[in-house]
């Protein structure tokens, strides 16, 4: 009896250990396509699933001999599944992703097709799209992904009702933000909502502060990975210090480091009036519309681009966020599957798909979408997003997507500690300098 207990225990530990080793293929793959079919995996759930599925259905109806077969996953499940499937050579023909550092790993491993020639031969496909959307799809001067879907800049959202009731004005600069913080706290409203446990939410603050204070080259130097002290740039230290100043002044809602963005509790704090402002991706609009009752209909949601920092070198028109989603073609796919995928890319952004995306409160990354925005009930917001995205001299990619997964995880883990005041700006810079280029 005892012996068996012991064996079971050991087996239990080993099973835990096996977690780290499971990279092998499981039983037969649900997403595997048959002959004459290209498989395509993407994220399930609103707002994106309906437009994505619709585009595939219309393509399949028009191309009965070369269909696209879809399999959908939830966000985190998708990331893990894709990672293990690609490692085992069992990935889909069309890979749905975020571009940047994650795409670069696939490029380095020779797992995705070079699409530079495809875009050269199909200039019409390329020229329709926002030029900025090709940034995260381009690695070492070559294009490895088809930009698609919508543009999602990071914006400062605020609750107009809170500002009316408290008699305060939304901020137009960093100093005004710091002045608002004690005033809002005195009225019992948290200045900023933040889903800090998700960590990338905190990262958005750094992205914009780095940009407003030091301009685009601060992060670009980090991204290029040649300067081993890039994080120690005085502008970076200044931005990190300002972030901690805001934390220390109780700028963020109480308990922010245990709030997750996945639960949308951070959005709820804003529309319920418990927090006055929130820095978040433009997709927040869709979430608040779905969950916030009449908040948007009653005109209570305010929004603006992140304000300037006094004395900063950055252009206040610049923005950060997702310049689109990115579809790559697996180099393991057969010639037939690759052709189907390329035909599918050409079919994207038809009238119906554009309308579907606009219906979700998103701006499709095609230039001809602008004229369709005014017909939408959310025209004001959509035009604002279109303006922010098209005026931006620099549309920066989310840092955790731009960097390699190794550096991104180090970044997120240090950001969490920065916001809980467990590391000083100097320690943060030292820790991050250590993973430059990794």
């Amino acid at each position: 009896m005892k012996r068996r207990n012991f064996l079971t225990l050991t087996a239990g530990t080993a099973a835990g250990a096996a977690l780290a080793a499971c990279g092998s293929s499981g039983p037969s793959d649900p997403g595997k396509a048959g002959a004459g079919e290209a498989s395509y995996w993407f994220l399930s759930g609103p707002p994106g699933e309906k437009p994505r599925t619709g585009a595939v259905e219309r393509f399949n109806a028009a191309n009965p001999n070369g269909k696209v077969k879809i399999t959908t996953f939830q966000n985190d499940a998708y990331k893990d599944k894709l990672k293990t499937a690609m490692g085992a050579g069992q990935g889909p023909s069309i890979i749905w992703g975020w571009g940047g550092g994650g795409l670069k790993q696939y490029v380095d491993a020779g797992q995705v097709e070079d699409l530079t020639d495809f875009f050269a031969q199909n200039a019409a496909v390329k020229d329709r799209l926002f030029p900025a959307s090709f940034g995260p799809a381009t690695i070492d001067g070559k294009i490895y992904a088809m930009p698609s879907e919508t543009v999602q800049p990071i914006i400062l959202l605020y609750n107009k009702e809170v500002f009316e009731k408290t008699g305060l004005k939304p901020p137009t600069s960093w100093n005004e933000i710091m002045a608002l913080v004690p005033q809002l706290n005195a009225k019992g409203v948290a200045p900023f909502s933040l889903g800090g446990q998700s960590r990338w939410t905190n990262m958005m603050w750094l992205e914009l502060l780095f940009d407003r204070i030091g301009g685009t080259e601060v992060f670009n130097t980090i991204y290029e990975g040649k300067d081993p002290k890039a994080w120690s740039n005085p502008a970076a230290i200044d931005a990190l210090t300002k972030t901690q100043d805001l934390v220390k002044a109780n700028g963020f809602v109480k308990g922010f480091s245990s709030i997750t963005a996945d639960s949308n509790a951070d959005q709820a704090l804003l529309y319920r009036g418990k927090a006055a402002m929130m820095l978040h991706g433009s997709w927040s609009y869709g979430i608040i519309q779905a969950e916030g009752g009449n908040f948007i209909k009653d005109g209570k949601l305010g929004y603006m681009n992140f304000p300037a920092v006094e004395g900063g070198k950055g252009n206040p028109d610049d923005t950060y966020g997702n310049a689109g989603q990115f579809l790559s073609i697996s180099s393991k796919a057969t010639a037939e599957q690759k052709d189907i995928a390329k035909n599918f890319f050409k079919s994207l952004f038809d009238e119906t798909e554009q309308k579907d995306w606009i219906g979700t409160g998103g701006v499709p990354i095609v230039k001809d979408a602008e004229s369709k925005l005014s017909a939408s009930p959310d025209a004001d917001f959509l035009k604002f997003i279109y303006d922010v995205s098209s005026k931006a001299k620099n549309f920066g990619q989310s840092w955790d997507q731009a960097l390699s997964p190794t550096a991104a995880e180090a970044l997120l883990s240090n950001i969490a500690k920065l916001f809980t005041l467990d590391v000083t700006p100097q320690q943060f810079a030292d820790n991050m300098n250590a993973v430059i280029g990794k």
Partner: protein, 308 residues
């Protein structure tokens, strides 16, 4: 206690199946096979991977000798993760063991209302860890949770946003879920103690408390060792609970070894160092299980029922 041999023996045992062990050894095969397949083989795989710098994405696996081990062993995150793991293990043992023993003793008595209570106590064990974590996370939310809803000041702490409190919450939730299981083990253990011992103690004039410390506890020695082994080794692999509750945060306050392993392997794409941590986990588990076995295993020949 002895088991009586069969009264009638129809045929003498043949030479091939002589001895009891020969005829039953096949019973170990299914377990051994699945243990080899799902325990030992992955273990060897992990050991091999710990000498590589595989990203998890490529088909070729680059061998880089001791690089992964060097990076893990020199990382200040490792002692921290070990400390967090140890803390969770020690505190949850300290919380669970006394409560489980008392509950087990209470439930061992044969009363109908106690049987009903036993069923109720058992419920937390039937729930999945992820579901429990999500529920507690919602209940403890500083803005929309129980404290805010009921307006109770003392419940309105930043439960999962303060390092010490978050660690406390993890221990609490672990205990909440596993105390029923360990109570069950102790209940069984207490029922094995012969009633004659208590009768003798009563004649000698020992009260209930004296009986508990002089008879129940010493007789439960092996049960305590079994239950502690399960607790201690089990706590090494707490992952889902911590991951859902705190994701290792705030900062890295609850970043235990298993969480650290997952973050390195599946977030940073560093399968080599993650495998090295997995090996460290296995070694810790083996050392602890063996150590605890030693505690009670030296005098195996001794009867568990001294004086019975």
């Amino acid at each position: 206690m002895t088991i009586a041999p069969p009264v009638v023996r129809t045929a003498p045992p043949s030479a091939s199946s002589a001895g009891g062990s020969g005829s039953v050894s096949w019973m170990a095969w299914p377990a051994l096979l699945s243990f080899t397949l799902f325990g030992l083989v992955p273990l060897v795989g992990v050991l091999v991977l710990s000498f590589t710098s595989w990203s998890g994405q490529t088909e070729e696996i680059p061998f880089t000798g001791l690089d992964s081990w060097r990076s893990v062993l020199t990382d200040p995150g490792l002692p921290h993760a070990l400390w967090v793991t140890f803390l969770i293990m020690a505190v949850s043992w300290l919380v669970q063991t006394p409560i489980s023993i008392l509950l087990g003793v209470f439930l061992a008595a044969q009363h109908r209302y106690r049987a009903v209570l036993a069923v109720l106590y058992f419920i937390p064990l039937l729930l999945s860890q992820a579901a429990i974590s999500i529920t507690y996370k919602a209940l403890l939310d500083p803005n929309f949770g129980l404290g805010a809803g009921l307006g109770l000041e003392f419940l309105q702490q930043d439960w999962l946003g303060n390092g010490t409190l978050a660690l406390g919450v993890v221990v609490f939730v672990v205990s909440w879920q596993f105390i029923p299981f360990h109570s069950l083990i102790y209940q069984g253990g207490v029922r094995q103690i012969p009633a004659s011992m208590y009768e003798a103690a009563q004649i000698d004039g020992a009260g209930k408390i004296r009986q508990f410390f002089s008879i129940t506890l010493p007789q439960l020695k092996y049960t305590i060792i079994t239950s502690s082994t399960l607790m201690v080794v089990g706590s090494l692999t707490f992952f889902d609970l911590i991951w859902v509750l705190t994701a290792g945060g705030p900062g890295d306050a609850t970043r235990a070894l298993a969480v650290d392993m997952y973050q390195r392997g599946f977030r940073s794409n560093l399968m080599g160092p993650a495998s090295a941590i997995a090996v460290i986990l296995v070694l810790c588990g083996l050392a602890l299980a063996l150590g605890l076995r030693r505690l009670g295993g030296r005098d195996q020949a001794d009867s568990q029922m001294e004086g019975a």
